[in-house]
Amino acid sequence: MSALLEVTDLRLQFGGVKAVDGLSFEVREGEILAVIGPNGAGKTSAFNCISGFYLPTSGSVVFRGMHIVREVPRIWHTLRLVQLLQRFGFYRVLPSRVTKWGMARTFQNLRLFRELSVLDNVKTAMHANLREGFWSTLLHTPGYRRAEAACAREAQGWLDFVGFEDDEELYVTQLPYGEQRRVEIARALATSPKLLLLDEPAAGLNFSEKQSLVRLIRKVRDLGVAVVLIEHDMGMVMELAERIVVLNYGKEIADGTPAEIKANPVVIEAYLGVDDDTEPIDDTRLRSAAVSAAAIAEALVDAGESSRGNGGDER
């Protein structure tokens, strides 16, 4: 399989902080890749660079043969005009363009359009695919009506696909959290991506919701869409991912199948730390998760809370 997305030596600096420090990995077509790492390891920053929101300090991101990070000629660096030029849209690819190329993303803290209905939220994502012009909208031409009807049908299709079960005329703020998560995924899918970036899609979901999320992500993969997800829930990552990339301090420290990652001493060290004082401040569930496969199963039970012990399946 060919590489859909290639990230090479990506670096991002905020002042003196190196958020991403020489990250390289690739995503192949139609695979599910998980990016894990302790809090503050630079996962979300890397996502933001890849989707065009942050301008990385250096490195290259190639998506379907197109460069998302543009090389800036040296002269602008010496003249210190890079920021200004990029503010005016030179030497950068806007996130909207990246989305049009076929990369969709969700946000860590849900960012739905709060004053739009569920259906309109999903329709909004079809912006680039809709044949509607200024005049056809003003005159309500048959073409416009058809486009709107197709748009509504497509949006309903996606809502059904993600298993949204509430009233789609509601405003998103009226929905329970889990449903909002589903809407966000439907919205990302409606941009018709080849690659879907999910930033902690399971955060705040209960066990059963996580299980249906796992099914949903597999379903998305079956459509031929590659999925990259950042996730803290080790149980879910181990169950779902075909490949895992582990980050720490903005660098890739491991890359491999779930089984390889579980056994990788570097990963365990990154999560546990060698000494007490280098140990990252993290929630206990996360720490225990990396110790061993047994601990992962434990974490699964933990997350499920009320559910019966099914850790055995994992072993």
Binding site: Y144, D166, K194, R215, E239
Partner: protein
């Protein structure tokens, strides 16, 4: 059905699977749907406004009513900018000024007929919208507010200082519309009813333009562009992630706002036949903004109500005229504190329709119902879980 719909979308690598069930068709009657009722109400209002000159054709009434209509047009334009796109424009009156001055200069200084000035006005407003919008729309919202305010002042001061705009005294003797040698000033008679004064007739022109303007702005707000505007208003980053070029969305809102204001400006120039820089002070920008905010940002009926209130209140309540700005100021604060969505919020549902919310779709459990060839590893985990939406469907399939 589905096949001819497919052509309505651009080619995309991924298509949604067909919806699992057909949604019920939306009701379309006058009293059982919001849309039908609003249409009927709008039609009724237009008829009432059109009948007004037959009841009271005094120049004073007609003049006030025409001004009120022009206010509605202005407010609809500002509503696109503030209400839909969420960009606070405090120099909106500048576009009104551009429209008024361009049509004034074209007809008096250059001697064109009024209808030829229309394309010029629109072109000038588009250019003005781009000039003002291009450098400023990358700014944060509060900076944008003050920069537009500065631009408004620049336009006014420029009009005040240039010779071609007539300096502080402005432009006088702007002609009315005329076609093929026939002018509105000549008056008209239909079916024994006389329309002697050009104001009366002009009122109808204004009415037609405003009806088109209101419907047009409303339609734009509902289409693809309108959704993009609202998305930008709610969350710019998320909108960008949805493939909307937020800069272009914002600038298009600006341009449309500018064109609406410019057309209102041209109507005003012909209506008053004289314009001066004093009519384009910040005060008026603020008044239009008040109308939009009081009525309800993003809400067509609300904005119309707001516009009528702001323009007619001082005329109807003479004693109140002295105090109106003070009262408007207090009202603005009070509305923002206690009812930020305005008198008629954009999200308002007619009270008798509230109980008839569309029923939730049938229980589909789409996630569970899928996966005919699910890998054999995980069902043990999946299906042993209670309360999963999947279970019902799973059972249904087995049965």
């Amino acid at each position: 059905m589905a096949r001819d719909l497919a052509g309505a979308l651009k080619h995309a690598p991924l298509r949604a699977p067909a919806p699992l069930f057909e949604r019920p068709r939306a009701a379309g009657g006058i009293f059982d749907s919001q849309r039908g009722f609003m249409r009927a109400l709008g039609g009724l209002v237009v008829v009432l406004v059109a009948v007004l000159p037959f009841l009271d054709a005094s120049p004073y009434t007609i003049s006030i009513a025409t001004s009120a209509l022009i206010y509605v047009m202005l407010c609809m334009g500002l509503n696109v900018v503030v209400g839909y796109a969420g960009l606070l424009d405090l120099g909106y009156i500048a576009f009104f000024a551009v429209g008024a001055y361009v049509s004034g200069i074209f007809t008096t200084v250059l001697g064109f007929p009024m209808w030829l000035a229309l394309p010029a006005t629109i072109a000038a407003c588009i250019i003005a919208g781009i000039i003002i919008g291009a450098p400023t729309l990358r700014l944060r919202s509060d900076y944008l507010a003050i920069v537009t305010l500065g631009f408004g002042e620049i336009i006014r001061i420029t009009a005040n200082n240039l010779d071609i705009t007539g300096g502080p005294s402005g432009i006088h003797g702007i002609p009315t519309w005329e076609f093929l040698g026939w002018s509105f000033a000549d008056g008209f008679t239909i079916a024994g009813l006389e329309f002697p004064e050009r104001v009366v007739f002009y009122y109808f022109v204004a009415l037609v333009v405003i009806v088109v303007g209101v419907i047009g702005a409303g339609r734009l707000g509902k289409g693809k562009l309108g959704r993009a505007w609202k998305a930008v208003r709610d969350d710019e980053d998320a909108a960008e992630a949805m493939g909307i070029n937020t800069y272009i969305a914002k600038i298009s809102a600006y341009i449309i706002g500018a064109v609406w204001a410019g057309m209102a400006g041209q109507l005003m120039a012909t209506h008053l036949s004289a314009i001066s820089p004093n009519s384009f002070q910040f005060l008026y920008s603020a008044l239009i903004l008040m109308a939009v905010v009081l009525g309800g940002m993003g809400s067509t009926p609300g904005v119309i109500i707001g516009a009528l209130f702001v323009s007619l209140a001082p005329e109807l309540l003479r004693d109140f005229a002295e105090w109106r700005y003070l009262i408007f100021g207090i009202l603005l604060v009070v509305v923002m504190l206690f009812r930020p969505a305005g008198l008629w919020p954009a999200t308002a549902v007619l009270p008798w329709l509230k109980k008839r919310r569309p029923t939730p779709p049938p229980f589909t459990a789409a996630v569970g119902a899928y996966e005919p060839n699910e890998p054999a590893v995980e069902p043990s985990v999946m299906e042993s879980v209670d309360g999963l939406p999947a279970t019902d469907a799973e059972e249904g399939r087995r049965a």
